[in-house]
Every structure is written in C-alpha cells, then in structure tokens.
C-alpha cells in the first residue's frame, strides 16, 4: 500500500511530496506495512515539532499525548467526564491538599516494564523542571518534591493550596518510562533532546517513525491495558499538511482519513457533498480570539485596545464568511459554560466609536501593527485580513503575517518576541472556566499560548486565585464573572466566536469517540466498517 499517493494534489505539492519521498527513501520508508493491516492517516493543520508529552499542552500536538501516552485520569466522552485511567481510584484529603491515587496493576510500558507510582512522580517532576506545556499551571498549585510514591501502586500529591482544578489537569501528567528516559539524559536535560523525537510511553499506540517535516507514525500496542475492541486500526499516521485545499482534496480522494476540525462552512459543505467523507458534529467549546501583546506601546494602552475591539466586523465574519456555523462570543469565556456573566454585551463593529477612543487614547500608533495568523488555518488568515481592513478604516496601518503554530508558541514565551496581535483559538483542555478566563489572564500563565497577552492585573489575579481555592461552584462562578467583567473592560484581547466541533472523517470510519478535550483524535476505539 503506497503511503504517498500523488493524485489529487497540486503540482507544487506534488513536487514537494516527491522531494519528501526521495528523502524518505533514504531514511527507510515511513510507515511500511504488511498488506492486511488497517491504516489511518490524519492531516493536521500544523506540524508536529516534538514528540515530548510534557512540553506541549495544546490541541495542535495533542495526538501524540492521547495515542502514545497515558495518564492517571482521562477526559472521556461528551459532555466531558473525568474518568480514572491508569488510576483505579483516588481520594482527596479533607483539607483538599492531598490527592492519593491507587494505580491499576499490570499496566506496562511499551518496552514491557511495569508502570509504577515512581514513574508518575518522575513525570510530574519532569514537567515542572522543563517548565513548558502544563508546567505554568501546575506551578501555581504544587511544588517540586511534593509528589510521593507511597508504594508501587500508590502515588500522592500534596498541593501548596487547595485547587478546584488540580484533578482536571491530572490527565496532563502523562506517564513516561523513568528508566528509559534517564538512560537517554544528556547533561541533566531530563531527556528533553531525546524525548523530542522518541517515545517512552504506555499508550494504545507505539511511536515507530517521526520526522518533524512530515509527522509521526505509531503502531498498535496490542498489550494496552484498556484492551481492544473486535475491530481496530493497526497503524496511525499524523501528518502536518498546512494547505487547506490539499487536506480537503486528500480526504475526498481517500489519501487522508481524517482532518483537523478547523474548517469553515464552504469546505464542510464540499466534503459532505462529495459523498466520500462525512463531517461529525458535536457540542463543544472553542473560542476564537485575538490576543494583544499588552506589554508594548501602543497596545499597552487600554483605550487603544478598546478601539481595536471596535474594528472587527464580527457579523461579517461569523455570518458571511463562516456561514453562521458559529455563535458570537463577546467574552473570553464560552457562552455555554458557567461563570460567564449573562448580561454582558461586549464590543461591536463600530469604526466611528473606535476613532473617538483613539483620539482620547494617550498612546499614539506610530508604526504598523503586526497581525499574525496561523499558517494552515484559512479561517485565522481571513480574520486577519478582515481585521486589517477594519483597522485601515480606523486609520491604523497593519501587516498580516502567517506563522506556524509551533513557531508562534515559541515566540509567545517572551514579551519582546510576542507579536502585537495573534489570532487563534482556545479549545477545551479541561471542562472548567479556568481553562479560559483563568489561564488566559492570570499573570502566572504569561508567556504561554493561553496568556500571550502577557496580561498582569493584581485584581484579576486575586479573583482567579480565590476562584480556584473555593470548591463551591456558585461561589467560584461569582469570582469568574467579576474577572470576566474586568477583563472585557480592559480589552487585552478580542473575542470572536464559540463553536461546535465539526470533524471531517472518511465515510467508513466508525468508533470515533469525540471528547471536547482531544477533538476526536484518540484513535483507540476507531475502526473501519
């Protein structure tokens, strides 16, 4: 079975594929398989720059974490429910500080060694030490050295203060094979260099090939502790395909079996009408927004930011360009989750009002603003162009630039390298308002892709801290509502819409279980009819 079929691609893409094919031939063919095996090829909008489960906490690279790794708990089904995974059961102490997880026995890593409590301790230490991905969030609630292996099957975490969301992010402690990682350490780097292109997991699929320029291939792990259904997929491949048209045509021709779920109405319609593929639809939460870099003039001035909020044609984008598949979301928090003030109106498209705000703003706009969209995501590009147009009407010059996701995430880490304006989405990483309002505006998250505003506001910090420490949802909701109001007024970003999930897959693919966390990329249950 040829893995790179050349039909249905553009001439340029074909040439690129050929070039890639030549280099592949040298590397040993990617995904060479026995004939009877079933394969699933997924075209991802962005590239996979790393295979390390502890450095990324996003949807763009979630396929590695969901398929190659396991955690103590996992978010499953829709609406998302937190289910014990490698953990059998868990207990929380009365003071809300100590979490004790009992592990299943007989869970094995890909090399056959057993998953032990100490591996979880090491994994959390590793996350905190590397300081990427979910680390900024963990750091607000647990210190290094506070995870303990009581015995081989009991792991205990002691928090610095009670947290309403610790359990929700426990799935991010993807367990790695301590012995294997340590063996590949170089200069105490926690195996970072090695782990970026290899794997040390226990997940349902085992990494077999990885090339940052192409993607990764993983083969079924028949010994996975969850067991398998009667039908399954033997080999999965996730490929970075940045061109929307190549992805859509590839799915319709059968070269790809699944695509990332960020397509717009025109494309979804085209896929449905082709009869070759279908679009799965599910309730979900994903907010499209712009994040302004609030550390630099002129965007450090709230009046300028408020003016910018009046420059986007919300209805034109949501209704005309996206054909009404989305709903306007005036705040950073999805309309459909608790903690959002119901009466809040947000900003409207109003050039004159924006001009008036600019006139009274103290900062003057003396340079073209840089609007970065995500390469490979047509929607974000069109939003950037539309915004540029609105800004021009307001008398503001701007440049529209496309940047790949892994690159832009790296740029967010420092205020100096963070673009003025970046357009993307915040999906559901755990079903709690903190996933949006909390991480996007707490100063502890500054420099992550969630808080690329580098927003720091002590008042908001205090509210968010209280919201996490409280356990009663009604109390928490109040704190979040207040934080939302302050943030919307302060306008460190611009919020466009909240959407359902539209996942395009091959017609005969069944068993895809959608969960808002993971966007239907966990392939363990999928099979061909």
């Amino acid at each position: 079975m040829p893995i790179l079929r050349l039909r249905g691609t553009t001439a340029v893409a074909r040439r690129l594929v050929l070039a890639g094919f030549a280099s592949l031939a040298l590397l040993g063919s990617l995904g060479q398989t026995a004939t009877a095996q079933t394969r699933f090829v997924f075209a991802n909008e962005s590239d996979f720059d790393t295979m390390d489960p502890h450095v990324a906490f996003d949807v763009g690279r979630i396929a590695v974490r969901l398929n190659v790794y396991d955690g103590l708990m996992r978010w499953q089904s829709n609406p998302a429910k937190l289910e014990p995974w490698i953990a059998e059961s868990y207990a929380i102490s009365k003071d809300g500080l100590t979490y004790t997880f009992k592990l299943r026995k007989g869970v094995k890593f890909h090399d056959g060694s057993e998953v032990k409590a100490a591996d979880f301790v090491y994994s959390l230490e590793r996350i905190l030490a590397l300081g990427k991905g979910a680390a900024s969030l963990f750091k607000t609630m647990i210190d290094p050295g506070k995870a303990k292996a009581v015995d081989d099957t009991t792991v205990e975490f002691t928090l610095t203060k009670p947290s309403a969301i610790f359990l929700a992010i426990v799935p991010e402690i993807h367990v790695v094979n301590t012995t294997l990682v340590k063996k590949n350490e170089v200069n105490n780097d926690w195996g970072a260099a090695w782990m970026s292109k290899s794997s040390a997991g226990s997940g349902a699929y085992k990494l077999t090939q990885f090339d940052p320029a192409i993607g990764f291939v993983a083969a079924r792990n028949p010994d996975h502790f969850k067991g398998w259904g009667p039908k399954f997929i033997d080999e999965i491949e996730f490929r970075g395909v940045k061109d929307t048209n190549t992805r859509v045509l590839g799915l319709m021709k059968g070269d790809f079996n699944g695509l990332g779920g960020y397509l717009q109405a025109d494309q979804l319609k085209r896929i449905e009408e082709s009869g070759k593929a279908k679009v799965h639809e599910a309730e979900s939460m994903r907010v499209m927004m712009m994040q302004f870099n609030t550390t630099r003039a002129p965007l450090n001035d709230p009046d300028v930011r408020r003016a910018l909020n009046q420059a986007f044609d919300y209805d034109g984008f949501n209704k005309n360009i996206l054909g009404g598949q989305v709903e306007r979301n005036p705040t950073p928090l999805p309309n459909t989750i608790w903690g959002n003030p119901k009466d809040i109106k947000g900003y409207a498209f109003d050039i004159e009002k924006g001009k008036a705000l600019l006139a009274k703003a103290s900062a003057k706009i003396d340079r073209p603003l840089e609007i970065h969209f995500l390469t490979g995501f047509g929607q974000s590009e069109q939003a950037a162009q539309l915004f540029q147009n609105g800004l021009q009407k307001m008398g503001i010059q701007s440049k529209v630039i496309g940047t790949p996701w892994p690159t832009i995430v790296e740029r967010f880490s420092k205020p100096e390298t963070t673009p003025d304006i970046s357009i993307y989405w915040i999906s559901t990483y755990y079903a709690d308002p903190h996933n949006w309002i909390g991480e996007m505006f707490h100063s502890s998250g500054a420099g992550t892709f969630k808080n690329a505003h580098h927003y720091k506001n002590p008042k908001v910090d205090a509210l968010l801290d209280k919201a996490v420490e409280a356990t009663d949802q009604a109390v928490r909701a109040k704190y979040y509502e207040e934080a939302v109001r302050i943030v919307v007024d302060d306008a460190p970003g611009l919020w466009i819409y909240n959407t359902k999930w539209y996942g395009p897959y091959s017609k005969n693919l069944a068993g895809v279980v959608f969960c808002p966390i993971g966007n239907g990329l966990e392939m363990r249950t999928a099979y061909y009819e």
């Binding site: 025109d266 044609d313 034109g316 047509g378 162009q385 539309l386 021009q392 529209v400």
Partner: protein
Amino acid sequence: MKSVPTTLRQLMRDRSAALGFFLVVLVVVAAILAPWISPHPEAVWDMNPANRLKPPSRTWLFGTDRMGADIFSRVLFGARITLMIALVAVGASLLIGVPIGLWAGWSEWWIGEALMRVSDVFLAVPQIVLAIAIAQTLGPSIENVILALSVTYWPWFARLVYAEVRALKRETFIEAAIALGVPPRRIVLQHVLPNVASPIIVRASIGMGFTILTAASLGFLGLGAPPPAPEWGRMISESREFLPETWWYALAPGVAIFIVVMGFNLLGDGLRDVLDPRLRRSHDR
C-alpha cells in the same frame, strides 16, 4: 543597431510580434489607468463579507473574492504590482549582469572568470528554487520578491553579454581599434556595448514574462506581496479553496498572468527576429 521607428515598423509586419506588442501595451495602459477604469476602486481594499464570492455580473464584472472585494478591480491594480516587480527586477538584473558580463568578457582576468563560474552556479539551480529560498528567508514583501528575482536573474544577462563580448573581441574592427590605441573603456562602451544591445533587449523582454511568472509563483506560495495587496499569484492560491464552484475567482488573475506573459514572450520573439538576424528562425518570408 537599428533605429526605433524602423524596428517598430518591422515588428508590426510580424503578426505574432504585433499581438505581443499590443498585449503589453494593453496591460501597461490598464495598470496606469487602473483607478479610472475600475468600477469600484474602493472595493480593491475594502472588504465587505456580505458580497463574498458573488459570480460575475454587471456590478461585479469578474465576480468577488472570499473577502467580498471586486476581482476586476483587484486584477487591474494587480497589474501595477506585477509590472512594477518585473520592471525593477529585470532593471536591477541588467544593472548587475551587463557590467559584469562586459568586464569579464573583455578583461579575461581570473576574477571575471570566477564571476562567470558563480553565474554558472546560479544558472545550474532553477531560478524559482533559489528565489523561494531567498524570499522565505527574508520574509514575504514586495521588496524581498524584487530582491530575490534580481539576485537570481542577473546571471542570464552576465552570461549572454560575456559570450557576445568574447566573440566581438576577435572581430577585425575591435582589433583595429585596439591597434589604433583607443582606450579600452571607450572600445567597450562605444563599440562593444552597442553591438550587444540587441540580444540584451531581446533577453530583457522575454525576461519580463519569465520574471512575472516567477513572481506569480512566489505569490502563489505565499511568499509574495502580503495581503491586502492584489497580487495575482496570491489570488489564484486563495481561490483553490473554492474551486470548482467559484471558477471566476481563479480565472481572472489566471488569464491576466497568461496575457502579460504571452505578450512579453511574443514581443521578445518578434524583437529577436527583427534585431538579431543571426538568430532568425521562424518568420523568414
């Protein structure tokens, strides 16, 4: 070298060359008069999503694009960008390539030879590949496209001039000039250069078409003029998401590229027939 009116007269006698000349003039006129011809000059930049992807009609001659801008107006204004890029890039290549070729061909000094080997390297790699590498490194902008095209196109002129100069040097009239003690500078500028002018003009005209095609390819790959500039290659690239339903989206800029490249090629071929009898191939009557 023949006088301009004579050349033009001879050119007009050749039907395909006349067509090429006419197409080039058409595009130049369209580019210059764009703001007056365009029915919606404001809709080149102004986006109105409500008018998105409208088929051609009396209001929208060539339909509208994904942002609701008028494609006819964008194609007209795109001609300005396209011609500007090609003119500056070919001009810069001339300015770099011709002196290098003259000097290397005349002096036969080892540095000149070395420069020719450098140009060989450039010629060995397809221009588009080099241009992609340069434009990608520098980031997408009109200036960088021009730079990428100039840097990769000058070797064509250098090689051409070099070869001509080497041949001319052995001609009797040049040897006579040398024997009479005319300073080399004067020989090169007054006797050699006019004699290589014809092939240069032919190459420049064909090069215009070639450069426009390469610039459009860069635009198609997202390395050209950034939005909202109405760049033809980029327009075609955008349209792929909506093909085949919105056929007009790709058609208009595609035809525009076809016309201008065709025009320059026909004109170049015609000029060659008129100016360079040695290379006359097709239209002997």
